[in-house]
Amino acid sequence: MYFGLSKTAWGARLLSAFAAAIACSAGVAPGGDGPRVVATTTVVADLVRQVAGDRVTVDALMGPGIDPHSYKATPRDADRLARADLVVASGLHLEGKLGELLDRLGRRTRVVAVAETLPRDRLLEVAPGLYDPHVWFDARLWSGCAPAVAEAVAAADADGAETFRQRARDYAARLVALDDELRARIATIPAERRVLVTAHDAFRYFGRAYGIDVVGVQGTSTESEAGLADINRLVDLIVARKLPAVFVETSVSDRNVEALREGARARGQPVTLGGRLYSDSLGGPGSGGETLEAVLRANVEAIVSGLAGGR
């Protein structure tokens, strides 16, 4: 927190050094098949893989379970970014502290922030000029990012351009179909219980798209601390709507959610923990949540079984 800024600056300085070194040795470019793409988060890496297939190597800077809001770049990251042919970010300030580094990088390497290619009127504005970055939870909206990725990869690998565009169209179609499927599943929850209480406000696009009220204890970013008024307000809501479950996220602390459960229990409303939702990162290998499609399905199933069942 204190050292975030200076660390980023340090990373950027290192990055310039590396970039200079690479520029000098540009003649002896290391071998490898196809362009190398570095994606910031696992969600973005999945998007690039879906669109580009095997023609490129995709590397995610932040692994599974990492909170991008507070992620601090290491010198190794700067190295990986500097060696990439293309950098794909999520954008809209999701990569809080990494943002400055990406801005500087943008002068040398092609950096695409996929969420920023979406039409502004489809985004949720949290403050004037500041948009909620968690757009991938609306499958239909996220499908609009695929063309930008296709064009960006095509610029690095012109031979594959048609393949990329075709794959982008196919993937977008899959996401739209998934979108309908998810909406139908959420609709099976009794209307008065369609409330998703969770640790931070990552699910607002999800709520808007699939017709479920979303209330987070923390703000949109995980950096802010919850106040007592926020906790009390949520306990009131849980009791009033008789919600049988609240949810925790894979990449965020669950202390606030525990406090909610205890508060509701004390007022005669037992609340179960409705399984961990994937929020700002996909699952690791073998988790069953390696792709965005799998993650969206897993989240919706967890929500439906938590809220629809029981009393």
Binding site: M1, G227, L228
Partner: protein
């Protein structure tokens, strides 16, 4: 919810925990302030971050007792380093404190960044120990925090005579044959305990305020040790409850920082209005002196000498 009815459950839990911590921190902090070692608590609190992260790394658990145990070990290690630096390198107190504070906090940040860079599952949220997570305290947390706080106050009460003498006249205490360094370290260790207990209430950066501001404010009102302890504890308790109340009434107001601001407000009140030591009292006294001088032959210009 009707506002007239009993307070919401979470407010009660948090208020109970924070009131106990605030009281004990105020009491224990007095000796740190009287011994002019106020910043020792700061060094200890900054060292706790490394302890929290290490405890998580070693055990893989993230429940409060585990993390606080790690924090306590780290705080004691930091204080041991402080003593060692002072003793073996002839570095002054302030420089040694600054060294321990900076190095241990740097270690904590490095460990935390390392965790997040390697993607250790469940590490998210550990950085909350920097800022505290007061509003999310559960009843189990409250019981643990109140228990430790009560024990700390009990220790101070039992050792009141010894601690007072060591604080004011260490030479005499040594002449009486008391193990002064040992008592000194024990008092400092007690400050470390309160810093650790205050972590969930205010976070590593702000917790120092809880062991320093109430004693300093209490010092304004009295010259005697026992009343100072009691008053410091009360001020800490009031600040804690004030912060909780503000945070419960105003949405999106974090509890920990609000407590510290409430403590600062109490300090400001003490600074201005305390009898004898307070700014107003001293001003009145100086004006009185000036008037008497004016009545005599001398006319020195010292009406607003104390600013």
């Amino acid at each position: 919810m009707s506002p007239a009815a009993a307070l919401p459950y979470n407010t009660l839990v948090v208020a109970a925990a924070v009131a106990a911590v605030g009281f004990a921190a105020g009491v224990v902090g007095c000796f740190g302030v009287l011994r002019r070692r106020a910043l020792v608590g700061d060094a200890a609190s900054h060292a706790t971050l490394a302890g929290v992260v290490s405890a998580f790394l070693l055990t893989g658990r993230r429940d409060l007792p585990t993390l606080l145990a790690g924090a306590f070990v780290a705080a004691l290690a930091g204080l041991a380093a402080l003593v060692a630096i002072r003793r073996f390198t002839r570095t002054r107190d302030d420089a040694a404190t600054a060294i321990v504070l900076g190095v241990s906090f740097g270690l904590g940040i490095a460990l935390l960044s390392g965790l997040s860079a390697r993607g250790v599952a469940g590490a998210g949220g550990l950085e909350q120990f920097l800022m505290g997570h007061t509003a999310a305290l559960t009843s189990a947390d409250a019981i643990a925090l109140a228990g430790v706080s009560a024990a700390a106050v009990l220790v101070v009460w039992l050792a009141l005579k010894e601690a007072t003498l060591v604080a004011f006249d260490p030479a005499f205490a040594a002449a009486c044959g008391w193990p002064v360094p040992l008592l000194d370290y024990a008092l400092v260790a007690l400050v470390a305990v309160m810093v650790v207990v205050g972590l969930p209430a205010a976070g590593a950066v702000l917790v120092t305020a809880l062991v320093v501001i109430p004693p300093v404010a209490a010092r304004q009102w009295t010259d005697r040790v026992a009343p100072m302890l009691l008053l410091a504890g009360t001020l800490g308790l009031v600040a804690a409850l004030g912060g909780v109340a503000a945070s419960a009434l105003v949405p999106r107001l974090p509890t920990g920082p609000t407590i510290v601001l409430a403590a600062a407000a109490l300090f400001a009140v003490s600074f201005f209005f305390a009898p004898e030591r307070g700014w107003l009292a001293r001003r009145r006294m100086l004006r009185d002196v000036a008037r008497r001088i004016a009545a005599g032959t001398l006319t020195p210009d010292e009406d607003h000498a104390d600013g």
